[in-house]
């Protein structure tokens, strides 16, 4: 791998380290350990070795011809992060951070998880490196992602249910931060997305940037050119940042992040802070945020547990404000339809999170509003969602309802 020098703690105005004083030394220690690791060829070689031999990289870039026919845009390539060990992009980050924990001599790991994919990826890395592992998960998410709870336990992790607040990812993150404040001396917090205080957004992005580096090379090999559009779903924003990073300097490549609109923008039940939030401070960084007029964090909602979060990584806020990336959103129903459509078209069951990106491309393709070639980050596989979606009934199977569900971001000059 290669990484960015650890320098500024901000992306434009966004990011920073808004945490209790107790955590400052641990963040300093982590930034220093990361800088040292980047300068150590043995560390970089070990990350590369594990990527190739354990995670299963490079992942394929697959041309989805039947999806193209449905969407009316071609070519469309899927970057197959679902084929990573454990079934999502999350493991790119957890293997790297677990190695960092080892370098810092921290025997205990904590993590938060929404969909359970980050929890599984963390539990996996902890098994691999023989680290103690505690995963915080909202009680509602434990219900809707029960398969992953069982996987984490098999892998030797302790899953602690979080009953406070909205009982989802936000509250799991609060609880993980409280654990870290209490046990910071022997514990490393493997945060699961490009969120949190500096240097987390930078470290997670660097470990995920392998996605875009590979995709860029792969599409050039088959198409002889760069993609016109690069698309990814955005929860905290790690698969999107990982996919975007290698293309940020390529002015001709449109970067499109797809947020979860839940029941719809303006319904009060969405997870789309870039589309309808405003800047604020949560979980250690300044970024767009769903909040009320008094600065209280508003509850988020999405059918996809991994997107069900009121905040977003600070680098996305910067990319939106500068106009370099564009952020759109997709409602629950459209995402569920995309989740049900892809298996029959391509033999691939996508995660509900990923289905948001697929739904937006299909919709934009039908409207002729997306330029090809398109590269979509297929961030994870959907085994974990099968039970939950089957319980939702066939509400999502109905006929396409004239564009309802896929919407443009209203907020910010970048949309």
């Amino acid at each position: 791998m290669s990484g960015s020098p650890v320098q500024a703690d901000r992306y434009g105005a966004y990011g920073g380290r808004y945490v209790p004083e107790t955590l400052i030394p641990a963040l300093d220690e982590l930034a220093a350990a990361y800088a040292e690791a980047l300068a150590d060829p043995a560390f970089l070689a070990e990350v590369d070795h594990l990527s190739a031999n354990y995670v299963g990289r490079p992942t394929p870039l697959y041309r989805a011809r039947r999806f193209e026919a449905e969407a009316g845009v071609a070519p469309v390539y899927l970057k197959r992060e679902d084929l990573n060990h454990t079934g999502a992009h999350k493991i790119n980050n957890t293997v790297g951070q677990a190695l960092l924990a080892g370098r810092m001599g921290k025997p205990r790991i904590i993590a938060e998880t929404g969909a359970g994919q980050h929890g599984v990826a963390t539990a996996t890395a902890c098994a691999l490196f023989d680290l103690e592992c505690v995963v915080y998960m909202g009680a509602e998410d434990i219900e809707r992602q029960s398969l992953n709870v069982y996987r984490m336990e098999l892998l030797g992790a302790e899953v602690r249910p979080v009953e406070s607040g909205t009982r989802t990812l936000k509250d799991a993150t609060n609880e993980a931060l409280r654990d870290w404040v209490t046990n910071v001396r022997d514990t490393h917090y493997i945060i699961g997305s490009v969120v949190g205080p500096h240097p987390f957004p930078l470290i997670v992005r660097d470990f995920q940037a392998v996605i875009g580096r590979e995709a860029r090379r792969q599409i050039q090999a088959v198409e002889g050119r760069l993609p016109a559009s690069v698309v990814a779903c955005v929860g905290g924003g790690s698969n999107a940042m990982g996919m975007f990073h290698a293309f940020v300097g390529d002015e001709g490549v449109a970067l499109i992040g797809v947020e979860a609109a839940g029941d719809g923008l303006g319904s009060g039940r969405s997870s789309a802070p870039l589309s309808e939030g405003r800047p604020g401070v949560l979980h250690g960084s300044l970024s767009y945020l769903l909040q009320d007029a008094d600065g209280q964090i508003a509850p988020a909602h999405s059918v996809a547990a991994g997107l069900d979060y009121p905040g977003v990584g600070p680098e996305h806020s910067h990319l939106m404000d500068t106009g370099r990336a564009r952020y759109v959103s997709v409602e629950d129903g459209a995402a569920e339809r995309a989740f049900r459509a892809l298996p029959g078209l391509e033999g691939i069951i996508p995660a509900l999170e990923t289905a948001h990106a697929l739904a937006w491309v299909a919709e934009a393709g039908r409207r002729g509003e997306i330029e090809a070639p398109v590269a979509i980050c297929l961030s994870g596989r959907g085994d974990k969602d099968v039970v939950h979606v089957s319980r939702l009934g066939d509400g999502g199977r109905g006929p396409e309802s004239g564009g309802a569900g896929a919407g443009e971001s209203q907020a910010g000059p970048g949309s």
Binding site: P20, T182, V281, L286, D294
Partner: protein, 267 residues
């Protein structure tokens, strides 16, 4: 360092020092279990010997707080408590009392209002200081400058994990007093205080020209005496909230009296 003229907080600590007494600093979650309770409680605390009151703005995501203050914060928000309510409670208290008041908040409610507006409204209501839990030294120099240059004291926190060099920087930059966090962890009542506390507080006092208050876990008269022996003031939060749940305002005020008396046994 605190700009001249010394505000109410500085004056209060000077008076305490002159009398050889230790300060008592109760924390209150505004709006829990109701605004009426908070009004009665802060009035009683002001009369009953509080030297500074930490008036808390409840926040939806209190990541530095344990179960007790999570519960009181959520309870206050369920009651619909707003930042305006906090200022109203303060303004009413101010009509009856001169007790110094520090607004205790997570950063986002302050940030959301705009720091300038927040500071102006807080001063109008009668606040003397502000203590943002998630604004450590150096996190946001521009925002910090806005608070440091205002007439509100910016009270800074130091923790057991803070390096000695950083403790010195925090002590130099804090205003009113320095808040030393008694343990590595979140807020919440505890049975025991840590044995190393006295030595650590001594280290903070040796580099600080400001008074040092100690909080997080201080719950009983015995704790108050131990803190009083080492520091200039004791902050008590979760234990008061717990007592408020068990015995109402009268119960919380009874605990406050006990703690006040315990601190006066030191000196």
């Amino acid at each position: 360092m605190s700009g001249p003229p010394p505000g109410r907080i500085g004056a209060r600590f000077e008076a305490l020092a002159a009398q050889g007494r230790r300060g008592f600093i109760p924390y209150v979650t505004t709006g829990y279990p109701s605004l009426a309770h908070t009004r009665e409680l802060v009035a009683g605390l002001a009369e009953g010997g509080a030297d500074v009151i930490e008036l808390g703005i409840p926040f939806s995501d209190p990541m530095a707080d344990g179960p007790t203050i999570q519960r009181s914060s959520q309870g206050a928000l369920d009651q619909g408590t707003t930042v305006d309510d906090v200022f109203d409670v303060l303004a009413e208290l101010r009509r009856a009392s001169d007790v110094p008041v520090v607004i205790f908040s997570y950063l986002n409610p302050v940030f959301s209002r705009g720091v300038e507006t927040f500071v102006r409204e807080a001063i109008e209501a009668g606040a003397d200081g502000v203590l943002p839990t998630d604004l450590p030294l150096g996190a946001d120099p521009e925002l910090e400058a806005g608070l440091l240059e205002s007439r509100l004291d910016l009270v800074r926190l130091a923790a057991p994990t803070t390096t000695p060099e950083r403790v010195a920087q925090i002590a130099r930059s804090s205003q009113g007093f320095v808040y030393y966090i008694a343990r590595t962890g979140v807020t919440g009542a505890r049975r025991e205080l840590r044995g190393e506390l006295a030595r650590e507080v001594g280290a903070v006092r040796s580099v600080s020209s400001l008074p040092v208050a100690v909080g997080f876990g201080v719950s009983t008269a015995e704790h108050a005496r131990a803190v009083g022996a080492a520091a200039d003031a004791a902050v008590v939060g979760s234990a008061l909230v717990d007592r408020l749940d068990e015995g109402g305002v009268a119960g919380a005020l009874a605990l406050a009296r006990e703690l006040r008396e315990a601190l006066d046994e030191v000196g």
